[in-house]
Subunit: 334 residues, 2 copies
């Protein structure tokens, strides 16, 4: 049987209130008793019961994280960052992988509610009214990570997708490329798809290369789809010499496709990715990519949620974190 506060009280020869006090406001207990209590706690390996506390405080000191695809390496970094912030702030972390399934997502929200998580980080997905309403009905505070909402007032942390994409494409143009394509996210169900395409368009317009604006093929999240999208793109526009991919995994799919077609990267075609996953540095060739501060994004999201939970609001509602172009081997001067 786990020892309870009563066991400690008995061993220390005090009342349970005193034990409770040494745990919550030690200074209000005289030294002599306090040390006896501490000793008993130590000896019994006593640890307060989180259920009993939760019942009183109505807080679980645990945070929930909702992610669409745990096998996307992007989230490994997010999780690390968020968990580190959680230990710093005294929370536990409950992670749920929705596999992009709406019903699962909804049922995880129920689970979070039942477990009384104090707040939720909602990552990389569109905040549909349905989700918003459910979360609001459950009265669970939440923040958006790598996402944002124009429709609702929800705090968010992300990078500036439009600007980041713009810089990546501009880099390609400055390298001398004129025939440039893009592998993008399908715009439906994608938060970062549209702004990244906008960045692409802006760079093209600025460079007087508007004929490229339609050289886009779309994929959804995975390598294989990017492979096929590349096939589409290059079949329609064989003269392309550079492609901007909105995810490192897409860049890998594209390079793989090019390799199978015996097209050299970066010899004949330059490829730029997005995210700077750990893999970007392991791939052959190493990926030139727009780095997101992934770990920091996760860390910051937890901090922001904590701010929301403790102060009731948030200083910077829509926070943008710095991205950075990392030039490696998959791109080259034209």
């Amino acid at each position: 049987m786990k020892p309870t506060i009563r066991d400690v009280a008995k061993m220390a020869g005090v009342s349970i209130s005193t034990v409770s006090r040494v745990m919550n406001s030690p200074e209000s207990v005289v030294e002599a008793k306090r040390s006896r209590v501490l000793e008993a706690i130590e000896k019994l390996q006593y640890q307060p019961n989180a259920f009993a506390r939760g019942l009183i405080y109505r807080k679980s000191f645990t945070l929930g994280l909702l992610i669409p695809d745990i096998e996307n390496m992007y989230f490994a970094g997010i999780i690390r960052g968020m968990q580190d912030a959680c230990v710093k702030l005294g929370y536990s972390l409950m992670i749920c992988n929705t596999d992009r399934d709406k019903d699962r997502l909804l049922s995880y929200i129920d689970a979070f509610r039942e477990k009384q998580v104090d707040g939720i980080v909602f990552a990389s997905d569109i905040l549909y009214p349905e989700y918003y309403e459910k979360l609001t009905a459950c009265r669970i505070p939440f923040v958006l990570l790598s996402s944002h909402s124009d429709e609702f007032e929800v705090p968010s942390v992300e990078v500036d997708d439009e600007e980041a994409a713009y810089e990546a494409v501009k880099f390609l143009i400055e390298l001398g490329h004129r025939e440039i394509g893009m592998i993008g996210f399908n715009h439906v169900n994608s938060v970062s798809g549209p702004p990244r395409y906008e960045g692409f368009v802006r760079a093209m317009k600025e460079g007087g290369l508007t004929h490229n604006i339609e050289r886009v093929a779309y994929a959804e999240h995975r390598f294989e789809q990017a492979y096929h999208a590349s096939h589409e793109l290059f079949s329609a526009h064989p003269d392309i010499t550079a492609v901007f991919c909105v995810a490192d995994e897409f860049a890998m799919g594209t390079i793989s496709y090019l390799k199978d077609r015996n097209i050299l990267v970066p010899g004949q075609v330059s490829v730029v990715g997005f995210d700077n996953l750990r893999m970007a540095n392991m791939f052959i060739p190493k990926l030139t990519t727009v780095a997101q501060p992934i770990y920091e994004l996760g860390y910051r999201a937890a901090e922001k949620l904590h701010e929301l939970l403790t102060t009731g609001s948030v200083k910077v509602p829509k926070e943008m974190m710095k991205h950075k172009l990392i030039v490696r081997e998959s791109s080259r001067q034209r």
Copy 2:
């Protein structure tokens, strides 16, 4: 204010026990009242308070997962599998990433105890006496995943590392290779390091190739280290034509090194990995590798833990799951 059982009772015009009954043994309540209660629950969006329940049942219906390195893609699959099993069995999942830090691990166990997780899956790490004792002292049931213990009686789920390594190496020998090296896990702090090396040795002895037994370089978990280990290995034994890597990430590091040295894979050197990560199929060249049933391993571990929790013991204490050699592009006939 979240509605409580009392609110439901009032709205339905019954006592709180009746409400409790319709939730726990509906058949013991007459239809008329039951439907009124159900209606009230629906209308109020009532959900029982997990703290109150936990206090009574002494169960949290949440499981803990301890992993050493969330950025290792191996664990993405483990987590998916375990989480799917958890939703099937009615548990929530709490994941903690230790970053291979002993103190963190120990403090996560404390957190698990405080949160009263029902059981823990301890993944891919050696069960040091220190851990075993702490877990035992906390009276938290646990199972080992991709690990096992000779010292203590703890249920475990893993693949047969020795046999799997043996088959991989044997495959290389059958391909005609005679000068074979290995990139292994440092044996200290590694569970699967020694058996995989044993498998390597057994295949060599059987093939009369014992001169290869010492052609081994060690790395710890990461790509970069495997890259350096490869440098070591090939500097000492430039005649090697095949290398068995005990992890896909090592295989990628090795291939990367070879690429930098302008050595063709599989043209001049064949490389076999281990794990069959999702990445194995995305890398260039696609990796020949020993597939572990990663998702199933995670799934099974949760089931086994559940079995332990509900029945107090486990039918098959040390369970081995099937591995399988997948031949792709990184290996070739000598």
